[in-house]
């Protein structure tokens, strides 16, 4: 228990635990809805193609079908599916449905029918004629001269250089990197590759949309970002924000995959077109192919050191594959450099990145948000640097890591929230962390002694730095209402997606108000309840929304 508190720091059962263990927790698809239609996406079999002709007549005539939509039926408004604060840093390069397809599985059309089977059957009856285009299937080829241009349309904007397939670009320097390498006694270089990964939330992307009696679009959806979703959906549909009402029920995991607007736009258009509630739910196969992935990257590390172990220059150069759309393109790769680089003291640092389009699956937000890729490369590389110096990796890191009172020089130059004041490290438990970690795993006894048996064991270490929230960019909202029995309705904009934040926030309110947790009735993620909240990402809810609840209470 934390000093002076009774509720915060205590071990309370989650406020939603009982309903979840009894199966009564209602997720998006757990409601009976009168007249519900089921949607299915007609998907491209080609990696890159122009749609020459679509004939929907056979699909429209199929049993149970209420609507078949193509690019002709949606507003041509470029949008991004990345759920981030305004101004949105990702390029506006997506269309609800487009005249072009840019990866295998890209949406060509969508069908709403009385049942899932009927929708799937009808989806197979949409006749599409394609002009197949050459495709970019390796990120190394994306910027080559004469590479196929993936975004050749005029309407998209915010792309760094569409003609060279570069969605976003980073080129930042602290000090003088060339000078730093010249000053070095030794320069060590290493290359790393990281692959696609899929989040595999147990609950797939699923959205139910309908028009309510006030002609507002109600969006019941499995999301981490109800408020971003409201704004982005209104934007993509070309309707005012006031006509969209997003509800986040229980959510079966997010991990970044739901920090995106994915199933919402098509469900919304189909609901508008049919006047009926429409559900679009991805299958597991669709989750693995047309949802979002972790960005694959090639990372080049280059470090200059003096014989005494100090770093004169440190450089990260990244090539990132964002797939056909640049959702979270700039900011994910931003973390790949801006989280690891400042961890090591150096007067000269460089971070250079090209985030390129390919005709491969769409990359997006994924736990750690680019930092795991960067730390994997940095920390393996730093072991090699220590080895080259004949230094113990623990000693090398203890000599070089950023210290209390020092300034993170990179933070003012790049990354989310950049352009503001440089971040000062006000406190740090890192030295103690390294010592205690080394002791706990028996570093000094075991390092370099793997044994001789068939199974050999070693010890390794790495250090990492992460953040909670995006300083200066993000905000939260909370509202408390007292009832006649000393219970309180706590309404928060944050989204509990299984993180337990409803409980955490309830505990904070109960602490301040001096009531038991059961007196706090927590409701989260309904955009009609309360003001804007950025949502559940960047490990920030307890910190940002939590502070907000503290103030509200």
């Amino acid at each position: 228990m934390i000093d002076g508190t009774t509720m915060v720091g205590s071990r309370a059962p989650k406020v939603d635990a009982v309903k979840l263990v009894t199966g009564r927790g209602t997720y998006t698809d757990d409601v009976l809805m009168y007249g519900l239609l089921h949607a299915k996406i007609v998907k491209s079999p080609h990696a890159h193609a122009r749609i020459v002709h679509i004939d929907t007549s056979r699909a429209e005539a199929a049993p149970g079908v209420h609507a078949v939509i193509t690019h002709r039926d949606v507003p041509r408004i470029p949008y991004t599916s990345a759920g981030q604060s305004w101004p949105e840093p990702s390029p506006y390069d997506m269309y609800i449905l487009d005249r072009k397809v840019r990866f295998v599985g890209d949406a060509v059309a969508a069908v709403a029918a009385e049942s899932r089977d009927e929708a799937e059957y009808a989806a197979g009856l949409v006749d599409v004629e394609y002009e197949i285009l050459p495709a970019v299937l390796d990120m190394q080829d994306a910027m080559k001269p004469h590479a196929p241009v993936i975004h050749d349309e005029e309407e998209s904007y915010g792309i760094f250089d569409a003609s060279r397939n570069i969605a976003a670009h980073i080129d930042t320097e602290v000090g003088d990197i060339e000078l730093g390498f010249k000053q070095a006694d030794m320069v060590i270089e290493n290359d790393f590759s990281v692959q696609y990964q899929q989040h595999t939330c147990l609950e797939p992307h699923v959205t139910i949309c309908f028009w309510d009696e006030d002609q507002r679009l109600v969006v019941r959806t499995s999301t981490q970002i109800p408020y971003h979703c409201r704004r982005m959906l209104a934007f993509a549909l070309g309707i005012p924000v006031r006509r969209v009402h997003v509800l986040k029920p229980r959510v079966g995991g997010g991990f970044g995959n739901k920090q995106e607007v994915v199933t919402e736009p098509l469900a919304a258009v189909l609901a508008m077109k049919t006047g009926r509630p429409v559900k679009l739910e991805y299958t597991r196969t669709e989750e693995f192919t047309i949802a979002r992935m972790r960005h694959p990257q090639h990372i080049k590390m280059k470090t200059g050191v003096l014989h005494d172990g100090s770093i004169t220059a440190n450089s990260i150069r990244v090539l990132t594959n964002t797939g056909p759309y640049g959702t979270h393109a700039l900011t994910v790769t931003g973390n790949t450099g801006t989280k690891p680089l400042p961890l090591y003291r150096s007067q000269n640092m460089q971070f250079y990145a090209d985030i390129v389009y390919t005709n491969l699956p769409i990359a997006g937000a994924f736990r750690g948000y680019g930092a795991p890729q960067g730390f994997f490369a940095m920390e393996v590389h730093m072991d090699h640097v220590a080895e080259a110096l004949h230094m113990d990796p623990v000693d090398f890191r203890k000599q070089n890591h950023i210290r209390k009172g020092e300034t993170d020089l990179m933070s003012a130059k790049a990354g989310e929230g950049a352009g503001k004041k440089a971040r000062v490290i006000h406190n740090s438990g890192l030295p103690e962390c390294i010592d205690r970690g080394a002791e706990a795993i028996g570093w000094h006894e075991k390092r370099g002694k793997p044994g001789n048996g068939a199974k050999r064991r070693g010890v390794g270490m790495c250090i990492l730095m992460q953040g909670s929230g995006v300083a200066g960019d993000e905000l939260a909202a909370a509202s408390l209402k007292m009832n006649e029995d000393a219970s309180f309705n706590l309404m928060v904009g944050s989204a509990d997606i299984g993180t337990g934040s409803d409980t955490t926030l309830g505990q904070i309110a109960a602490e301040v108000l001096g009531v038991p947790l059961e007196n706090i009735l927590v409701k989260s993620g309904d955009t009609d309840d309360i003001s804007f909240d950025y949502g559940a990402y960047a490990s920030s809810t307890a910190y940002i929304t939590g502070t907000c609840v503290l103030k509200a209470a």
Binding site: R11, P13, K14, D16, A17, V18, L20, V21, T22, G23, R24, G25, T26, Y27, D29, D30, V31, L32, H199, T200, C201, L202, E203, P204, R250, V251, G252, G253, F255, T283, R284, I497, G498, T499, G500
Partner: protein, 155 residues
């Protein structure tokens, strides 16, 4: 086609199609605690008890339940009281997003009927077919152990 079966203790008749899975039929009849996740018998989120055995309802046809006795997560409670497994899961922080939990609860409750005193190893083995993505296996295993020690884990 029409099937008759016992669902959570009540005899019902369901109208189904030949190719419909038991999972689809269950959810269509408003028993939404049983979750649709992989639809290929990999993850256990759709686990129910059919004739006393815990099974994945996504890879059984609804027709195969004709004449059977079906218990879903909604039927695990007794007389308005949580099953010890449910109680232990809720108390132990074994639940994160909760989507895999109904399947785990049903699996564990069914297993404790067969083996009221399992070892940790036994439970790990039984949970091979239950995937959790919030990486919460340790807490669920602890909860099942705790439930088994409560001495009232038999359904």
């Amino acid at each position: 086609m029409r099937i008759a079966l016992s669902v959570n203790g009540s005899v019902v008749e369901w109208e189904i199609t030949a190719g419909e899975t038991l999972l689809d039929a269950i959810r269509r009849h408003n028993l939404t605690g049983t979750k649709r996740v992989c639809e290929s018998g990999e993850c256990g989120a759709c686990a129910v008890m059919l004739d006393g055995l815990a099974v994945d309802s996504c890879i059984l046809l609804a027709a195969q339940a004709d004449g059977g006795e079906l218990v879903t997560v909604e039927g695990i409670e007794r007389d308005g009281r949580l099953h010890p497994v449910q109680e232990a899961f809720a108390r132990n922080g074994s639940v994160q997003c909760g989507f895999c939990i109904p399947g785990m609860i049903v699996t564990a409750a069914a297993y404790l009927q067969e083996n009221p005193n399992p070892s940790e190893e036994d439970i790990r083995h039984v949970f091979v077919g239950n995937l959790c993505r919030c990486t919460g296996y340790k807490k669920p295993i602890e909860a099942v152990l705790e439930a088994s020690r409560s001495g009232r884990a038999e359904l």
